[in-house]
């Protein structure tokens, strides 16, 4: 896979480069900021761009740069790395794109297996979310807040949590030991309960389901 990297921390950038090379990926360039990445991609093609969220142009150059890149190269995957897994950033990332995007903690891509799995899923168009964040969004630490999401059954909540991690139907079926048909039925129920009877594509409805979930759990809930 052809990968471009923008990260302003030299130590982490060099470490990630070594790991990417060990995983057999081709590095088309590694730069220290968003503007440099835009310049690089004007001459080099990449399958996935890896962006640090907090880099120049400050304060969150990774996000503003990604907005520009998504317009110019809609098919290029975007992997955001951050020191923090926050729903605030997740929502902004999903606003940039709902296909082929990922958001992971920097220390969680520290093996060839995880890094390759993350990049492969992004290139395949999936939404890859740090499992810890997806889990936190689904399992509330406390409180009995009444929301539409509370009307979901336990199994539907499991399915939504895995959807929030960007898993495909087949992946969810495998993890829950049920048939893909059963997963489809659960998802149809979730869409129904969340009121997502739109003409949007399956993928958009998935992301809308996750977003509805986030908002229902968030401040305005």
């Amino acid at each position: 896979m052809r990968v471009a990297l923008a990260e302003d921390g030299v130590l982490f950038r060099e470490g990630l480069l070594m790991l990417l090379r060990a995983a057999g990926h081709e590095i088309v360039g590694a730069v220290g900021g968003g503007d440099e990445l835009v310049a690089l991609l004007a001459t080099e093609h990449a399958d996935v761009a890896i962006l640090d969220i907090r880099m120049p142009p400050e304060p969150d150059g990774g996000l503003t740069t990604a907005e520009r890149l998504r317009v110019s190269y809609p098919d290029m995957g975007l992997l955001f790395l951050s020191h923090y897994a926050e729903s605030h950033y997740l929502i902004r990332i999903l606003e940039i794109g709902t296909v082929g995007v990922g958001y992971r903690l920097k220390e969680k891509v520290g093996s060839v297996d995880v890094l390759t799995d993350t990049l492969d899923r992004i290139q395949a168009g999936e939404v890859v979310i740090e499992p810890m964040l997806a889990k936190r969004l689904v399992e509330r630490p406390k409180g009995s807040r009444k929301s539409v999401v509370d009307t979901l059954s336990e199994r539907e909540t499991d399915v939504l949590r895995l959807m929030a991690e960007g898993r495909s139907n087949g992946g969810i079926a495998g993890l829950l030991f049920v048939s893909p048909k059963a997963v489809e039925k659960h998802i149809a129920n979730i869409f129904g309960k969340l009121g997502l009877h739109t003409d949007a594509s399956e993928n958009n409805r998935r992301v809308l389901a996750v977003l509805t979930y986030l908002r229902s759990q968030g401040a305005e809930g």
Binding site: P59, D60, E107, S111, A219, G221
Partner: protein, 206 residues
């Protein structure tokens, strides 16, 4: 409109100020303890385990490395918690409203924030955030603080009026008003409690 004068006006002996200062220093000590008992201890233990790696067979290496990476994740999580207690990164990067929403999200609180996307600078945002975190987050609670309300339901409206940061807080009660006054009073902020229970805060911008 104003029903009560600020507490600071009724604090000739400076008792409230001493209380605030004491609280601040206890918080700093708590953060230092967390660094010592958490991240530092884990890193020291990791150094030993790395030393042990040279004594173990190469076949065990992948599993041991995986364990050490999990341990590093735990260290980073602890450092993130301490960073949040010093100055939340999201407050710096995104402002008061997103930082408060994240706090509510993390603690599972019922907190509604209404805001324009305006920024008010590190001092005003830091003071406002800290006051509300002191009220809402058990992490900030002092030993002599009263037990928090079960499932508080709080609304915060953040806006700019003339050249001041204006906060309207609903559902906070008197204790919340006192904590806000402790934080914004030294910055020239005025805190009033309406008969409706609403707290209005006005702090001149830097």
């Amino acid at each position: 409109m104003t029903t009560r004068p600020p507490d600071s006006d009724r604090d000739p002996s400076g008792e409230r100020l001493r209380h605030t200062e004491a609280r601040r220093w206890r918080h700093r000590r708590k953060l230092e303890r967390r660094l010592h008992d958490g991240a530092s201890l884990r890193l020291s233990a990791m150094s030993l385990r790395l030393g042990l790696l040279t004594e173990q067979g190469p076949g065990e290496l992948p599993e041991r490395v995986g364990e050490l990476q999990d341990e590093l994740h735990a260290v980073l999580q602890e450092l993130r918690a301490v960073a949040n207690g010093i100055y939340p990164p999201l407050l710096d990067e995104a402002g008061l409203a997103p930082a408060l929403r994240e706090l509510a999200d993390r603690l599972g609180l019922r907190l509604a924030v209404v805001s324009t996307d305006e920024r008010f600078g590190a001092v005003l945002e830091g003071a406002s955030y800290t006051a509300l975190a002191e009220y809402l987050d058990p992490e900030y609670r002092d030993a002599d603080d009263p037990e928090p309300e079960e499932e508080p339901l709080v609304g915060v409206d953040i806006r700019r009026e003339d050249d001041a940061l204006v906060l309207a807080v609903v559902g906070g009660g008197h204790r919340c008003a006192v904590l806000i006054r402790d934080q914004v009073g030294p910055l020239g902020g005025l805190v009033t409690e309406e008969p409706t229970g609403q707290i209005i805060v006005r702090v001149p911008c830097e």
